[in-house]
Symmetry: C2
Subunit: 809 residues, 2 copies
């Protein structure tokens, strides 16, 4: 462990690049290694550093930014040197210590959210003022209103995306249909060139995909992919930059429309969940930083803690709107997204989900001209007409399908990760990413055309509810079953596979289709486009599920239970389980979107459980894989097995940069300039400048210190600011706190002091150095902490533990 530790404690790397280059070599007149430093002497220079900011950190190991000899080390607290004990020591340069971690150095700088409510004096003053029954009722009512708004607006956005995709796709495919019909070489030898529709198809794929990929790449790269991993990380407490901005929402919406219309192997469901999260974050804050507009409402909800709950509701509303599945949406939030949970939250989340589905249903009913105002549910994946039944002897088959799904899913995840690693290494340029998306789109079109051209799978008309039955080389009363699979959006294909009557496809068709789509979807997820992974995964599963049923039926023609639609559904569930590794929410979503009865829940869950268990043996679900690949410091549910048997003192970072309860403005300014931590213990009972030996009396955040400096909240001018300073002063700059660069030099205020007692959080969570890591993890996780102080028996600081300490080892 010790080789990871150097002398600045990088607990939370700032995302501000200018801050990360700390300490800057030119500001360091004398750089000498610390020698009297207890167990930190056996350090090695960190090796795996890369990138600008990290380079400069690791390049400056062992630095102390002071001309004074360092007087730190908890093992010698009794030797009191003759240092200045009075408050006015701001002429001495502060002492900093640097710690870099090999893992952290090569990863992006994700900060954490402050889920812990900082209950400082200002906050408690506000609480006391609002102690009336009425205020708390009002806050409750407003919270409900916000959740209802989230449901409505998320549904409206989902509707818009839905309708636009449907309209554009319908036009695209009917145009292509006409073109095929016109150019098909008839049997009488009349002229016709199928290259023309192929080129049209290419064009109609390339243009939207290129547009969408360019938007994502050049305007807002965070919108790439489904957005679920990002939302999940956010809810876990990681600040993903720009994840909940309005611009992100706009790019994501346009991106998903263009990608789906362009015919990429992806779905619109994941992005809708992200859209719900953005809507929730936007509405709940009552202001938009993008449009520099503050509506001056919902001010009480402007902190990470409240925002998180709303984002959870928004995610659930998004799922509900995407699938028309309110219970599924709520369960999805619980199972996949929520890291924290309480009964009221589940309850509000459910209401947002229901409102969302309801709104969606009304709008879509109106759009489809169904004016009989009967609520029928949405059934995105098509309702099964007859109740699906199963026999007990089918259970082993379902289990087998589950195992297959688990294997295929694990392989898919692994393959996809490899492809994405390849991408990251060999396609670093922006234009390359756009071109790559276009190439994948072209590949899809080409493969589809080849399949349509070479496989002669003709079926009688009238049997299949396909919208555009392409005749091609078939007889007059027949249509091409291969074209039927490709001439629609993936979602519509899932529907066909579930509901097409038995005998709609050849075995060869479906087998080839499965292979092609498996590869295509694997190549697609990870492109710089906004697309979800749910629909292609379900599609692949439905295809091989149906295929297996067809093959078995071919071998045992008397087995009448082999309803291909049923097996397509089970296959979809198994494949989804293998790729996503969700169980409860997936089964409920599938039930709600296909209208199967609750008794069919049993086979679904059997398949899902088998798939999950088998898949988990090999790797993690695709969302978690993505999170890991991006080095997002997400906290798992249980501590990693490597941490068992360790104690706090083996993972903590020390020494810690501390601030005195009453410290000089100069020290604080210098410290903020020189190190980019986000939480600083506030200490008392300090001898001279030996801050890291003080007794802990609180913790203060970087953002709070910057506000203090910006607003000049010094002791010396207290009478000016005291009357008008409240917790609102700090809340006003939420969520985009200024950087220390925006603070002017202190010049005339260099001798001023700051009294942190009313600003700091006086109740940091503290543990002992000998506490076990699993226990500390549990506390950290349950309370949603960002910093955890390790104190010794005398309440003096022994180290600090942050999110990253549980991730990298």
């Amino acid at each position: 462990m010790d080789d990871r530790r150097t002398l600045i404690n990088l607990d939370d790397e700032s995302s501000d690049e200018e801050d990360a280059i700390v300490p800057q070599p030119k500001t360091l007149p004398s750089s000498k290694p610390v020698q009297n430093f207890g167990d930190y002497q056996n350090e090695e220079p960190s090796t795996s550093s890369s990138g600008g900011a990290a380079q400069s950190i690791s390049g400056n190991n062992h630095l102390i930014d002071s001309d004074q000899p360092p007087l730190l080390g908890n093992n010698a607290p009794e030797i009191a040197p003759n240092t200045q004990i009075n408050g006015n020591v701001n002429d001495s340069e502060p002492i900093f210590h640097l710690r870099s971690r090999t893992a952290a150095a090569s990863t992006p700088n994700y900060e954490s959210l402050d889920y812990e409510v900082c209950e400082n004096t200002l906050f408690q003053d506000e609480q006391r003022k609002r102690l009336t029954e009425r205020f708390s009722l009002r806050k409750d009512v407003i919270r409900w209103i916000i959740f209802i708004q989230i449901g409505v607006i998320t549904a409206l956005i989902a509707c818009t995306i839905d309708i636009i995709i449907e309209e554009l796709s319908a036009r695209k495919y009917s145009f292509l249909y006409d073109s095929v019909q016109k150019n098909v070489p008839l049997s009488d030898g009349s002229s016709g060139d199928l290259v023309i529709p192929y080129l049209y198809w290419l064009l109609l794929s390339i243009v939207p995909v290129a547009f969408g990929a360019a938007m994502v790449t050049y305007i807002e790269p965070i919108t790439a992919g489904s957005g679920i991993p990002q939302v999940k990380s956010y809810l876990n407490g990681v600040k993903i930059p720009r994840i909940v901005r309005i611009k992100t929402l706009a790019v994501k919406a346009i991106g998903v429309i263009t990608s789906v219309v362009g015919g990429l192997a992806g779905g619109k469901e994941g992005p809708m969940i992200h859209a719900g999260a953005v809507v929730a974050a936007g509405i709940s804050q009552g202001k938009s930083t993008t449009f520099v507009k503050d509506f001056r409402v919902f001010k009480a909800f402007r902190d990470d803690h409240e925002k998180r709950d709303f984002v959870l509701g928004g995610g659930a509303a998004g799922v509900s709107a995407a699938f028309g599945a309110p219970i599924g949406g709520m369960l999805f939030s619980l199972e996949e997204a929520a890291s924290f949970w309480n009964q009221n939250l589940i309850w509000r989340t459910l209401v947002a989900s229901i409102i969302s589905v309801f709104t969606l249903n009304i709008v879509l009913s109106a759009y489809h001209g169904l004016n009989d105002f009967t609520f029928t549910g949405l059934f995105n994946l098509g309702k099964f007409d007859q109740p699906l039944k199963f026999d007990y002897f089918e259970l082993p088959i379902f289990m087998f399908l589950g195992v297959t799904g688990g294997l295929l899913g694990a392989a898919w995840n692994s393959l996809n990760t490899k492809i994405n690693n390849f991408r990251k290494r060999f396609i670093p340029w922006k234009i390359g990413k756009v071109i790559e998306a276009v190439v994948v789109a072209m590949m899809g079109v080409t493969l589809a055309c080849l399949m349509i051209y070479f496989i002669n799978d003709c079926r009688p008309l009238g049997n299949d509810p396909t919208n555009n039955p392409v005749q091609l080389f078939c007889e007059d009363n027949e249509y091409n079953a291969v074209a039927a699979l490709w001439f629609q959006t993936p979602e519509a294909t899932v529907r066909s596979l579930f509901h097409d009557p038995p005998g709609s496809h050849k075995i060869l068709t479906l087998a080839l289709f499965t292979v092609v789509y498996y590869v295509l979807s694997c190549a697609t997820f990870g492109l710089n486009v906004s697309l979800g992974v749910f629909i292609p995964t379900a599609l692949v599963g439905a295809a091989w599920g149906r295929l297996l049923a067809m093959i078995t039926f071919y071998m045992f023609p008397e087995a009448e239970f082999l309803h291909p639609g049923k097996y397509a559904l089970i296959g979809a569930a198994a494949n989804l389980g293998g790729v996503l590794r969700m169980t409860i929410s997936l089964s409920v979503i599938l039930m709600e979107t296909t209208g199967v009865e609750s008794s069919f829940f049993f086979p679904l869950i059997i398949a899902l459980i088998s798939a999950k268990w088998v898949g988990d043996y090999f790797n993690e679900g695709i969302y978690d894989t993505q999170i890991q690949v991006n080095h997002v410091p997400m906290l798992t549910w249980e501590p990693l097995p490597q941490y068992k048997g360790l104690t706090a003192k083996e993972i903590l970072s020390s020494p810690v940069v501390c601030i005195k309860l009453r410290d000089s403005a100069h020290y604080i300014y210098q410290m903020l300039k020189k190190c980019d931590h986000n939480g600083f213990p506030v200490v008392d009972d300090v001898q001279g400048n030996r801050r890291s030996e003080g007794r802990v009396c609180g913790i203060i955040l970087r953002s709070q210190l910057i506000v203090i400096l910006l607003k000049s909240l010094y002791v010396e001018n207290k009478r000016f600011w005291l009357p008008e300073t409240s917790i609102q002063t700090f809340r006003d700059v939420y969520p985009r706190y200024p950087s220390i660069k925006s603070v002017r030099k202190l010049d005339d205020k260099i001798n001023y002091t700051v009294d942190l007692s009313m600003f700091m959080n006086p109740s940091p969570v503290r543990v002992n150095p000998h506490d076990s890591v699993p226990r500390i993890f549990q506390i950290f996780r349950a309370l949603g902490l960002r910093h955890l102080l390790v104190i010794n028996n005398e309440n003096r600081i022994a180290g600090i533990i942050t999110r990253r300490d549980f991730i990298y080892k």
Copy 2:
């Protein structure tokens, strides 16, 4: 607040009566009030004490059990008196302080569970030994096996109860039917006396009810009621005595069979949930204390923390078996029962639920002779043949039904609470309780007979699927619709109300039935019998829901949407929402038990939400009401509003009885004899006997101290016990720790000392005196704590906070 505080800190009243009489007056030679006690001087004697133990506590306020002048008070720590500082101070009597709370004094003594894992040295040793990958995998596999066993066995018990009730009820009602047919006075004037079947009916009700009530009253009173409040309290962390014993299970099973067969207005669902919890607790521990049998398996799961998770799974399996609703069961656990939650737990709970439903289905299929092995779900409340549809304009009607349900439910809860209070006051004798149950049963039978006799509601035969169509005074091809309602179990009546075709009942019949059943069910819940409240509540709701539809249809005969079954279902949902105040799980359970489609989830949830909101305006759900009435110290999800704005120092108990890290056996023995707390801070750096001024270094439980004394784990004989002492030594006596009375007098060991450093939990959670109560509550709740230490800036003890401090004010 201060008037609640006296000088022994009764944080957890022991359930051992002999311990509670502390300190006994005869052992107190000099009882003088403390005067130098800071802010505790303005005390008033507590007033509302009652009962033996509490009396003696409150009668001995202000006592210090010592001849020495008390030297406590954190406000004067600097005055170091000339006390002995060496270890051998066990000749001085320990100093105790008593604190009684007005509220606590009059309530039963509920202890808390130790959810927090005590990570002492022994535990960590064990962990290190088991650090291998294999052990952890093995534990995981065993955990899964236990969950599966729980599912299977719970289902088998549920089946047994189900089948016995069905068989006995069928016999009872067909006998009564024959008797009615024989004795009905025919129109030709032939003899017949309807008193005979009435008397038979009375007999067939009184005998089982009296038997069941007697069993519950005399053998195991904890089995009264549904058991859900008790399971909920247990999962919240309250040790309800005897709640998870095998004897309890046996009495509960027989109790519920007799009560339902006896015809009381109750259901078997609640008791099944309790049964699941008992099964889970029993299996997971691998031993039965009742049968003094230790199977020597699953030893690693013998602590409150693991047991809780299994009990949660058992509860879910119970719900699933009771309703045939696996998702509903899991959601029920989450919504109603679980106080703590994590993803793995939800996942295991779901598997237990599914296994349970599956087992139940197989056994019931076999029992009913359905050997086609087709899984059709259970549909306890009958499957709706056609998909239920609804129009948008019906939503306000559903909402109105919800509001009605909320009002009726709130009234029911309030009336039931009044009846139960009356009972508690005026029927204290055991025989009285049995007689009361019999009287209610007789009342039910009499009212039913009167209704059948006086209301002439004849319907043509063949329309209604009633098993025993009583002809009575009707024409030959008709049957009596009133008798049809009463001549079956309540569950079957719910089924009839859902599925009977329109026009099966007169408005008058149903109106009277609703009123009678409303009153009957209200009088029944709270009797000393094992019965659940779900079915009668659903029945009342179904009755008035159907009634409203019938009345409206009578007024507007053209309103064809008024399907009475649909409105019965909505009414049942609304009434359940009004009484139980659950939403998500209820709607899912109703969906799963009636097989309605997920699109009908929307009206169900509209009705439930309206009912819950309206009901919550008046009072709490019936389970929470019961918990409150019984003064169970259950922690709510949010801190009570009265606690807002308070800080730790306003709710803490102090001074705290502490133990030195190395203390004398005599002191510990005396202290355990004299006070009945369950957690003692372990302190260090103590001057003489001023233990409560020491620095906190851990916390130790009463049970651990007793084991130490019992096993003579002293420093002086360390070489004898050290090699063979492990965490297992302490686990062996779990869960029924011996009382201090079982420890022999120390006589020869009076000078021995105990070194707690390897036994104590070295990582107690600590907060500051100025921390806000809501924050402390959050920590307490999230970590499932039992004791929370309040320390000052120097890590010296300032007080202790326990569960009760958040409950009473």
